[in-house]
């Protein structure tokens, strides 16, 4: 949902995010909603600048978000408002897979004490066949005990307000205030929005926390409607773009999976069969895959050679960020390109990462400043303490300064899928060059080196199309050609397509990224450069993929018969005369499919969906209360304790942690046991308004460095009282991965919570700081561990445990920041 739509919300729940601090301008719209009488709720372990503006701040134990959301689901389903207002039941019945009967092979965590059926102990993974639907059976009344709705109800039945108080530390009356606020602000004419960020994703159950929120929003009918939905607040300028056109190991552009050996993607056909879905939009997958291969390999890609499918490398394992670090340390990865990223501070277990960097043969560093990742060999805690000497580090490092945003053309995709073009104002100074320049000229050089070789690796590069014209004083590649390639064109006459609907799977079209198709419908017309905003959906400002739709699944903003659920929440609706969908947004639905359309028996793809099935990407067009496939750690969100937690799992005592978490059991990455007495305090890391992620773009900028010039950890007065620590004293934090010293900001904004009847203290620490730049401090990520969420492979930095002690580290030459 677009940020502007928050202004129409009746209740905004900010959880897993500190929006006012990390997305201040996005928070404008929350303030607008507040001025119109919306209730703002901030659920966070810490009272932060977001809580200061909220009507309700709910302190919660870091890592227990899912228990809280489960509590909300249980509260909503057992509330009389949910039963009395017909809208809720009708929304769930017609737009979700509530009525679907699940096969009897499925066993819930209630039956198997915290586990789902289909778990294979050796491989440590679920096999999802036992979660399948009982083909074709529906119970519209949703009373059958095996229908998804009833399974959900039973699954969350033990997430009572008392349980939430025990697990999350949130007093019952506070929990009920939140639940009532959300319930009364949901309905036909009222919508509640959730805003979240990495404090939800960065858990070993991160994906499930978000799917639990989606489940709650489906039950409350807040999906696809103005002022409703879930807004992911992403942290980098184009982190959304970098997952759409991914520099990620497991994806090809347009969320098409990389070919995987162990998933049987051995040739093009098996690959396409695995991705294609009989029903729903993914039925078109082959068109996008073939067009993508034509874009990369051009004329070399023909029907005979599977459109050069073999040249696309296949993955057979985990090469995510966390896996790459040990691969560097163990010598598998010998060369590294690091462009605008600072893993020596931002990566988990950053001491291991610095050791990995020291074991590389060569590294290419592209950053405007000499950040810690570029300077690890001559200035790092290990070098300062004498543990490591530059003379022992073999890494050959090339430091090439890049152009900064206003010195190069290009587009960013922001947190609401909006692609915006930024124009080049001036040429970059001296040796600074833009990334396209670097990639294009590196590619040209490599093509030359491999020009007359016959090896398979040479062949792989030779077939790649890499011929862009250049312009400007530094011979930058013309980005317009790159965008044309991304947008897609008909191969014969290179005529640009107007959208992914025109892409074919017979090799007649080429398209670099199908979801961005339509961004350049005509040569020179880059929709990302549109700059006509208005105070509705601003369709003339930039280009939102897919096809400029601003609210996804906005068909759900109309009832099954196509009429808006209410005048106040009108968004798109069926226009009987024009016989098409119309409204304030581009309909995320076939424009002319009547609401009462019913598919024929052998209908395929999107035609197989009914006229009242808003979720066009889902196989059956319905929102998933119960996810039969797609997530590797269970079809229904379940609360498991973070990998390191001071308390056991009250809901599932036999299964404290999620059973399928990928771990890195290595001597340099040890984990703490549950309830480990040596590390009794919950530690959560977070960001500040004044700094940017690993600090590379803020600790070196004087105006920002002076606003938060030194690292600190936030401690509650009660915890500080036990150690005799006063505001401003030095403290030391230790985990099995490392120990750091920092200053204590003793503040009432943190408080101990009662978990399982005993007090649990929480410590908060910003993770921007490092030894470089003008704002320095010890690196918080020296404490965190390499561990991953099973679905997204993101790490756990929002809830792990640590020990606290007074005073500084006995460092020999005062390695850390200034001493007083």
């Amino acid at each position: 949902m677009p940020q502007q739509s928050l202004a129409d919300s009746d209740c905004i729940v900010i959880m897993g995010s500190n929006m006012a601090e990390n997305h201040p301008v996005g928070f404008r719209f929350v303030m607008k909603a507040k001025e119109r009488g919306a209730t703002i709720i901030h659920i966070d372990p810490r009272f932060s600048r977001t809580s200061a503006m909220a009507d309700l701040h709910v302190p919660i134990r870091a890592g227990s978000d899912l228990a809280f959301l489960g509590g909300l689901i249980n509260y909503a389903l057992s509330s009389d408002r949910w039963e009395s207002v017909p809208f809720f039941r009708e929304f769930v019945q017609s737009y979700t897979n509530g009525p679907t009967i699940i096969g009897d092979t499925f066993k819930d965590t209630e039956d198997l004490a915290g586990m789902f059926s289909g778990y294979d102990p050796e491989s440590g993974a679920y096999e999802s066949s036992t979660w399948a639907y009982d083909e074709g059976h529906l119970d519209p009344e949703m009373t059958d005990p095996r229908c998804a709705f009833q399974i959900i109800k039973r699954h969350f039945s033990r997430y009572t307000p008392e349980m939430v108080e025990q697990v999350c530390g949130v007093p019952q009356e506070l929990f009920e205030q939140v639940a009532e606020a959300i319930l009364t602000s949901s309905g036909p004419d009222r919508t509640t929005a959730f805003c979240y960020a990495v404090a939800w994703t960065q858990h070993t159950t991160g994906t499930q926390i978000i799917s639990c929120c989606a489940l709650l929003q489906l039950l409350l009918g807040n999906m696809g409607r103005p002022g409703g939905g879930i807004l992911a607040l992403r942290g980098h300028a184009t982190i959304q773009g970098s997952t759409d056109i991914p520099t990620l190991y497991h994806l090809l552009p347009g969320y098409i999976s990389m070919p995987m050996v162990d998933a049987g993607h051995l040739d093009l056909q098996s690959f396409m069969d695995a991705i294609q879905q009989p029903k729903g939009w993914w039925h078109n997958a082959p068109k996008y895959i073939v067009s993508f291969l034509k874009a990369w390999y051009g004329d070399a890609a023909t029907g005979e050679n599977d459109y050069c499918f073999d040249y696309v490398p296949k993955i057979s394992g985990d090469y995510s960020f966390a896996a790459m670090m040990p691969m560097m340390k163990d010598g598998t990865i010998k060369g590294l390109f690091c462009m605008g990223m600072n893993p020596a501070v931002g990566g988990q277990n950053s001491k291991l990462i610095r050791e990995g960097l020291a074991n590389l043969d060569w590294m290419v560093m592209r950053d405007p400043y000499e950040i810690e990742t570029a300077a690890f060999w001559h200035d790092s805690p290990e070098v300062r303490s004498g543990e490591v000497r530059p003379e022992d580090i073999k890494t050959e490092i090339f430091f090439l300064p890049p152009a900064v945003t206003p010195e190069k053309d290009g587009s960013y995709t922001n947190t609401q899928r909006l692609v915006q073009w930024h124009e080049k104002a001036v040429d970059p100074p001296e040796d600074c060059r833009s990334e396209p320049w670097f990639m294009y000229h590196l590619g040209r050089r490599l093509k030359a080196l491999y020009a007359d070789e016959e090896t398979p690796q040479a062949r792989q590069l030779q077939v790649l199309t890499w011929d862009y014209d250049t312009e400007g004083i530094y011979d930058d590649p013309r980005l317009e050609q790159v965008i044309e390639e991304i947008n897609g064109y008909t191969v014969r006459d290179r005529k640009l397509v107007s959208g992914f609907a025109e892409l074919k799977d017979d090799g007649s079209t080429a398209c670099g990224c199908w979801i961005y198709s339509g961004i350049m419908p005509e040569p020179g017309l880059n929709l990302a450069r549109n700059r006509k905003g208005d105070d509705a959906a601003s369709l003339e400002w930039g280009f939102a993929w897919p096809a400029n739709r601003r609210v996804l699944y906005n068909r759900a903003s109309a009832d099954p018969s196509g009429k808006p659920w209410s005048e106040r929440k009108r968004w798109i609706w069926w226009d009987e005369e024009q016989e098409r969908w119309t409204g304030y947004d581009v309909p995320d639905f076939p424009a002319t499919k009547r609401p009462d359309y019913r598919p024929g028996p052998d209908a395929v793809g999107i035609d197989a969906h009914r006229g009242d099935a808003p979720f066009i990407m889902m196989p059956d067009g319905h929102g998933l209360l119960f996810a039969p496939a797609g997530l590797v750690d269970g079809p229904i969100p379940t609360h498991y304790e973070p990998w390191e937690s001071p308390v056991t799992n009250l809901l599932y005592p036999e299964q404290v942690r999620s059973p399928v978490v990928p771990t890195f059991d290595r001597p340099d990455n040890q984990y703490h046991e549950i309830g480990d007495p040596r590390f009794p305090y919950v530690l959560t890391t977070y960001r500040l308004t004044e700094h940017h992620t690993a600090g590379g773009m803020s600790r070196f900028v004087p105006w920002l460095a002076e606003l938060q010039p030194g690292g600190f950890a936030e401690i509650s007065p009660e915890l500080a009282g036990e150690f005799g620590i006063d505001n401003g004293d030095w403290v030391t934090l230790t985990t099995l991965r490392g120990e750091i010293e920092t200053r204590a900001l003793v503040t009432e904004r943190l408080q101990p919570l009662t978990i399982h009847g005993r007090p649990v203290h929480q410590i908060g620490m910003p993770w921007h700081y490092g030894w470089g730049g003008m704002a320095t401090g010890d690196i918080a990520n020296d404490l965190s561990a390499l561990i991953e969420d099973p679905n997204s492979r993101i790490h756990q930095a929002k809830a792990f445990t640590c020990d606290l002690s007074r005073g500084r580290l006995p460092r020999t030459n005062g390695a850390s920041g200034d001493d007083e």
Partner: protein, 342 residues
């Protein structure tokens, strides 16, 4: 299974007294940070107050001594005039060097602001040094320093000395006193609390310093000017009594918080022992015999006493400026002055 709620009360009395938090530090005032900004003034301005005060007072004494004094008055007037002229030069230099941009000192003449003591002070310094230099030139002529009979001397004889003398008194007196008003017309609590007393206090101190300086010079000049010295000593004592009185009035007018810089710390000690003790108390003691016996004390005593007064005068200005800094830095002093008066 039902988990009964712990009915837990979220208070932590049993823990050790709560640690001092960021919230605690902002309870009394904004983390103890100053509300107003203190002036940058230190030694340049302190010296300027000292020499400026003497310059103004000495010129006034010189004029008054000539009108009333007869032969002894003449010698006092001569010493006072040359002393005053001697003090004008350092005053101007100190003022200019204290400026952030000394090269722009002439900008002081761009405007006449009656409500700005510094603007008025500039014009006062200008006019008093103008009259003073004329009178000093006349004095030099009369002492034959400019030669006996040359065109310059003949021309100078036409100078309406009495008129210039009369005109010069007012700016000189103002020069001696305006420095107090300069401090009073600021937001610094110590200075502005008792603004009416500041001018007179500085004036009194200037007179006692000038008188002491003249006494010192006469004392050093030996027996020939014994009578003149006794007269100026009388003025010195009068000025010192006035200064003590004004200091008492000043101190009583302050509340405890605002007076704190004069009570505690380095400025407090310097005030009690330097200004009051050495600067006024000791000299009065030394002159004690002459005060009771209504006779004049010996030369040695007079020299020591006047030297002490001068040191006390300098200490007084140092204390006033530095205590002003502390007062400006103390938020509670400012809040005391500006609390809501409903």
């Amino acid at each position: 299974m039902v988990i009964e709620s712990s009915g837990f009360q979220r208070r932590w009395e049993n823990r050790r007294a709560r640690a001092r938090t960021a919230g605690d530090e902002a309870k009394e005032s904004y983390y103890g940070l100053p509300v107003i900004h203190k002036p940058h003034w230190d030694w340049w301005i302190i010296v300027y107050f000292f020499v400026g005060g003497i310059c103004g007072a000495a010129n006034a004494i010189a004029t008054l001594a000539r009108w009333h004094g007869g032969k002894e008055g003449e010698s006092i007037s001569r010493v006072a005039r040359y002393l005053s002229f001697g003090m004008v030069i350092p005053s101007t230099i100190c003022l200019i060097l204290d400026l952030g941009r000394p090269e722009r000192f002439l900008n002081m003449l761009r405007v006449v602001k009656l409500r700005s003591p510094m603007s008025m002070g500039t014009w006062i310094l200008l006019s008093s040094s103008f009259f003073l230099s004329l009178l000093t030139v006349d004095q030099a002529r009369r002492d034959g320093l400019l030669g006996q009979d040359n065109p310059l001397v003949r021309m100078l004889r036409w100078m309406p000395v009495r008129l210039i003398d009369a005109l010069g008194v007012v700016p000189s007196l103002m020069l001696a006193g305006y420095t107090g008003v300069l401090l009073a017309a600021t937001a610094v609590p110590l200075w502005t609390r008792n603004h009416l007393v500041m001018g007179p206090l500085f004036l009194a101190s200037a007179f006692s310093n000038a008188a002491a300086a003249i006494t010192l010079i006469l004392g050093l000049r030996g027996r020939s000017v014994e009578g003149a010295r006794h007269r100026i000593e009388r003025l010195d004592l009068l000025a010192m009594f006035a200064e003590v009185a004004l200091l008492v009035v000043f101190k009583r007018g302050l509340t405890r918080t605002v007076a704190d810089p004069l009570e505690t710390g380095q400025t407090g000690k310097l005030h009690r022992y330097g200004v009051l003790g050495a600067g006024i108390g000791l000299p009065l003691l030394l002159h004690g015999k002459s005060i009771i016996g209504r006779s004049s004390s010996g030369r040695g005593v007079s020299i020591i006493a006047s030297a002490l007064v001068l040191i006390g005068g300098l200490a007084f200005r140092y204390v006033m400026v530095m205590a002003g800094h502390r007062s400006a830095d103390d938020p509670n002093a400012t809040f005391e002055m500006t609390r809501k008066r409903d």
